[in-house]
């Protein structure tokens, strides 16, 4: 649509280059090591030029996080369109989460930075909006699955005949989101987890999700053992897909 001059393309290219340079500094040495001076020096540009691209380093961090979230969303998307039952697609979303934390470690790590108040508050409304939208997109994908479940009759709805639960689709998403998110944060920020007796947080989280989904009455109801086996099966199917998506993203 928009015609870009050579110069404009160059500038855009450099924006990407700045992110490429900033990422390892942030990941390996932390926020305090990421300085505009250093990025400029490493790229052989003057500091002012970097400031033309990003008004402060926090925006660099948020831009990196946005990239990371786009990868997450792509994984979710791939998981959500598998040609299987709604509950099983939900299991695949879980696998996407696992894949993201385990095999897209850098992206996962970068994503955490947006929760830091000083970074979030400092960044522009526009970029905040991008991120919110991406997050909402992920949530919407999952909520869509819940609605599919209700539509297909696999999942009793709030005002349906089964009084076993009392949650709207979005509230169910909130529960799954909380438990997945909570486990991931605890796993990544609490190195003492094994010492506390949690040997295999991934397996635990799978079990918890299964328990929650069973509790919602989402058919087919799985005994935990069967569920764990089924997840392993799906993992083999979707893993190559996830890998391809990760490769394309870079």
């Amino acid at each position: 649509m928009v015609e870009l001059t050579r110069k404009q393309r160059e500038i855009e290219q450099r924006t990407r280059e700045i992110l490429r340079v900033a990422k390892p500094i942030l990941l390996r040495e932390g926020l305090h090591a990421l300085t505009m001076d250093r990025v400029a020096a490493q790229m052989q540009y003057a500091k002012g030029t970097i400031y033309n691209h990003f008004p402060h380093k926090e925006e660099i961090v948020l831009a990196l996080a946005f990239d990371a979230m786009r990868l997450r969303r792509a994984l979710f998307q791939a998981a959500a369109v598998e040609d299987i039952s709604s509950r099983e697609r939900m299991m695949c979303i879980g696998l996407a989460c696992e894949y993201y934390t385990q095999h897209c470690r850098e992206e996962f790590q970068v994503e955490q930075w947006i929760r830091h108040a000083n970074i979030w508050d400092k960044s522009s409304a526009a970029r905040q909006e991008c991120i919110r939208e991406c997050e909402a997109g992920c949530m919407e994908l999952v909520a869509g699955l819940v609605r599919d479940g209700i539509q297909s009759g696999d999942l009793p709805s709030l005002d349906g005949d089964s009084p076993g639960h009392a949650l709207s689709p979005e509230e169910m998403v909130f529960g799954l989101w909380s438990i997945t998110f909570g486990s991931q944060i605890l796993s990544s920020s609490s190195p003492s987890l094994p010492a506390l007796g949690v040997m295999d947080p991934i397996r635990s989280t799978r079990v918890h999700c299964c328990t929650l989904l069973n509790g919602f009455g989402w058919r087919p109801i799985y005994p935990v053992d069967a569920y764990l086996l089924r997840v392993e099966q799906f993992a083999e199917t979707v893993l190559p897909k996830f890998q391809a998506i990760q490769r394309d993203h870079a």
Copy 2:
């Protein structure tokens, strides 16, 4: 035990005073506003004196967070000793969490700062240990309840007769911890939650915990409605206790 000279008491007193001064700055204006110069000026001391108490501002933040966590632990403790069934005491722990996030807002907010990598990494091993210990203490309280449940026969154990679940006590704690922690973080860092359809995150979280506990097979098994009512009942009992603890803490 230890005899303290007047001077030593003065110094200890001042350490507390520094925290008292720093807290509102951190809460209301954020980390960047919390500078040693400013604390010193506000207390009418030279900057060097403040540095005698804390080697950098990050330690001030961690000290504040430690205070906050001690309050949390005290609330947990009060909840765990209620003279009711193990499952019901677990419900009270949930209420303690809710109380902490809702009515000890400042403490909850301060506690979040320890998750910030730059703050955590910069602080001394000693203070990190204090915090870890306090966190482990909270976890241990909950794990104790799970063991009580198993002992009393209300909760089928891993190698027991009910194959309905497959988790160790610590893994169950991990699940409850994750969902509670996850909800709290999402609620506090995602102001768009209501916009996404999650109107009452506290109620949702209660339902999710109930679902999880039922899924563990923890007797008495509650239908969601009955559970919500029971929680409200308990809330009335424990609220005054919580309030007293909060008052004493200040």
